[in-house]
Amino acid sequence: MDIKSIAPATKAPRPRPLSPNIQIYRPQLTSVLSIANRITGIVLSAGAVGLVIWLCAAVAGPGPYAIVQHAIGSWIGRIVMLGLTLAFFLHMCGGIRHLVWDTVHGFELRSIYISGWSVVAASVALTVAAWAAGLYLGGWL
């Protein structure tokens, strides 16, 4: 008889159920904003790479810079920039909310929902304001 099959010390631990079981949960503002903060962070990492490409294009001269500016100015480029702007403001406002939480404030359920909806409203308002200002100053409005 194989001694390993009866020795409790060698038995592999049974995989434990993981919590929370997100597939049976109804999305809540709290959980949606939590994962949104992480997703926007990953999206903004790609934006950071874009910032370096943009700076390198500026070093390379007016020609390469114009190519990058042309890509940004295209319809796809503008949609990407609009998405990045919203992701930036969501991540910044959500990050400020997290910094407040780090001081052990605002954990009451009511405060959490007030701050959550404030993050959503502020992000949308700041994105609209930034684009309105940009389009106005750029002479497109």
Binding site: G41, S45, A48, V52, T85, F88, M92, A133
Partner: protein, 128 residues
């Protein structure tokens, strides 16, 4: 663990992983986050102010000492925060042997890109 260990669970955990430097990682991510609030808002405002202006206007803006210093500080804080944040994402979702390689790749990529961005900014700032 295959063999019964005579060491206590505490003795095996002391000095390993997050028990050592986790708080530094946590604090650095937040210090960079605080720095990024004014830096990114300044950057976005500058981009908006330069909307529609061309190459010459952008380069002359980046040649001002304030803009060059701001851009370099932005790149340092941005990529430090990105490296710390993406490392946590990998540690949460990658459980295979690729985890260590992924964390190293993120760190090297982020700090490499930061240096490239800083050198690019300096070349514009000090260029003729």
């Amino acid at each position: 663990m295959n063999r019964q260990s005579f060491r206590s669970p505490l003795a095996r955990a002391i000095g390993l992983g997050a028990a050592k430097r986790g708080s530094q990682h946590w604090m650095a991510e937040r210090v960079m986050a605080i720095a990024l609030v004014p830096l990114t808002l300044w950057f976005v405002a500058s981009i908006i102010a330069h909307a529609g202006s061309g190459y010459t206007a952008f380069v002359s803006w980046l040649r001002t000492p304030f803009a060059a210093v701001g851009m370099i500080l932005l790149l340092i804080a941005l990529f430090h925060h990105t490296a710390l944040g993406l490392q946590v994402v990998i540690e949460d979702y990658v459980h295979s042997g690729a985890r260590f390689a992924a964390v190293i790749a993120i760190q090297l990529g982020c700090y490499g890109l930061a240096v490239v961005g800083i050198i690019a900014t300096m070349r514009i700032a000090f260029g003729s």
